[in-house]
Subunit: 352 residues, 2 copies
């Protein structure tokens, strides 16, 4: 499925399905609306899937790995090699996302979309390499337009493939040393906010490195002049391969009526690219959590998404998405498994 046909498949979810779900929820043995957002999640899942009894039995998190030329500018506390080292860690089940996905009953698909390392034929790794890391956006565009389109295509193809495999909910995640830098750039371009307001300390840089990071982002935007009306231009000039992959998964999920849980700051940059390509994608998104990164709130606000969790997370990988999946599934179980007033012989007479 190419980008144009994927986008043409995306429709807004229909209120009639959410309304039907609400009727069932209002007849369960609890005061109406008393399970708050859990009820919202159930209504949205019914509307997204257009299925009165949806299931989330197969869950997957796509963790895209990619390198960034801009890492050369000293914007991260970790060396670039950590991206590939963490890919090995994902495959041997030792990373945060492995632990939390297991806890939530989700599988993890580790995707090399742009790591600056030749993994050869590595068991368990999904090889979709578009390039050996992006170019340094401070010196020119991070990618060509064609490369940016290929990144989105990788995400769409994976969404289609895993939908066919029977996965019922997707989560996004990423690994890429320096990737809060392109994410802040994307946030600045689309929200129009000053770089300083939407830039954070990533993995934990000090004051000097922080000032430098802001300058790097400002210079990259000034040099490349990404066009906010052309999301693929923004992705190409100041984005990253994993951010493009995430945008593609979101578009592919929406085209296939599959809910997609957006992890944190970097994933939200990818989701925002998807949203700016086709705003209807929003109906299929769940914002997993409120990241420590300051630009996150601005991007969520742009899409009018309310995060599910607020746990001071700033790891990425899809860790927040894994936890949020558990909470979303809780809403579905409430909807499917609770007794009705009639079943349970509980009075739903309301006094005045």
């Amino acid at each position: 499925m190419d980008l144009i046909s994927a986008v043409s498949n995306i429709t807004n979810t229909k209120d009639v399905f959410a309304e039907e779900a609400r009727k069932r929820l209002d007849n369960l043995t609890k005061p109406q609306g008393s399970l708050g957002r859990l009820e919202e999640f159930a209504r949205r899942l019914v509307a997204i899937t257009e299925n009165r009894m949806p299931s989330l039995d197969k869950k997957i998190i796509f963790t895209f790995a990619g390198d960034h030329g801009v890492a050369d500018e000293g914007v991260s506390v970790f060396p670039k090699e950590v991206t590939r080292q963490m890919v090995f860690n994902f495959l041997s089940q030792g990373a945060g996302i492995n632990v939390l996905a297991r806890h939530a009953g989700a599988d993890v698909a580790v995707v090399d979309i742009g790591v600056d390392f030749d993994f050869g034929n590595l068991d368990g790794l999904i090889s979709k390499k578009v390039m050996m890391g992006t170019a340094n956006m401070r010196k020119g565009p991070a990618m060509t337009r064609r490369q940016a389109e290929r990144c989105i295509g990788v995400g769409i193809d994976l969404a289609v493939e895993y939908a066919k495999k029977g996965y019922k909910i997707f989560g996004t995640g990423e690994m890429g040393i320096a990737n809060t830098t392109p994410s802040s750039a994307i946030a600045a371009v689309f929200t129009g906010r000053p770089v300083i307001e939407i830039t954070g300390r990533g993995t934990g840089i000090g004051d000097d490195a922080f000032r430098n990071k802001i300058k790097v982002i400002e210079n990259s935007i000034a040099l490349n002049m990404p066009d906010p009306k052309d999301p693929i231009d923004v992705l190409a000039k100041v984005g990253g391969t994993e951010i493009g992959g995430i945008a593609g998964v979101v578009i592919g999920a929406a085209a296939n009526r599959i809910p997609v849980v957006i992890d944190g700051f970097i994933s939200t940059a990818g989701a925002l690219i998807a949203y700016c390509i086709e705003p209807k994608t929003k109906d299929y998104m769940f914002a997993a959590h409120n990241s420590v990164e300051t630009g996150h709130k601005a991007m969520l606000g742009k899409m009018d998404l309310r995060p599910i969790l607020d746990l001071d997370l700033r790891l990425g990988e899809g860790t927040g998405a894994a936890l949020a999946m558990f909470v979303i599934e809780a809403g579905l179980k409430i909807y499917k498994e609770m007794a009705t007033f009639g079943d349970a012989g509980v009075s739903n007479e309301v006094l005045n």
Copy 2:
């Protein structure tokens, strides 16, 4: 274990254990502190249990049911009979707490501590009835001092019993038509805030009933004059049996070095009674979520507890505690299961 010996067993948790846990966390393959509150939960669990490798394999939620004489004053949209009807619903696994406890891998102990109904010998129900519902606090004290002490004793005994059974974490929950009314009264007495500021709409009362509820609470406090320096006096005069049971579980948990997850508004009223008896209990508490009830924040603030979830819940029963247990356990799994930098061959060299 009686109240005095339980309280004398409670000590503050020791920073040295949390510090050791932090060292391990800082050597896992993630930027230091990047899993935010999940790391906090792991540190606290190690400090509470004084065990470097604690386990949460057996989890239980105590759902205390009790009736309230003040229900006669028209403070709830549901008739009093719903309390006993919901007890049957809990036992047949049809309620919200059943669904969410199952989802989180927790057991539920349903305790009749003060329902105004004779259940006889009902399979699965833990019978600890102190009284057939409280008296109407608008006309006099809800309980005698002796009854209030017995309610706390029930909670302590259950904590001791379930600790012996090998349960590693407790959650609190409750069912009692009209029980936001005594909870708001307790909040007003201990925080000194005006009743109108800490009273909400419970199961969803309209404007007239809401104004009436505020008056009922104000009148009950004026009539009974509970002494904020004497928490058992407060519990007796404007509290409830289930609120006393929860206070007892919290004290019993702290006396046995067991973490206890406090559900929402009513549970927090119980936890606040325990805290005012012995402030060290706070070290053992986790605040599950931020309830829709406005008085909740004031009580959490009094104890300086930060809620884990914010999902607009207002059902009670222990539903928020069940969800929060999953998140707390996520923190423990991160601590126990993630690879270290050395294990995984990931560089933890930090650049400057």
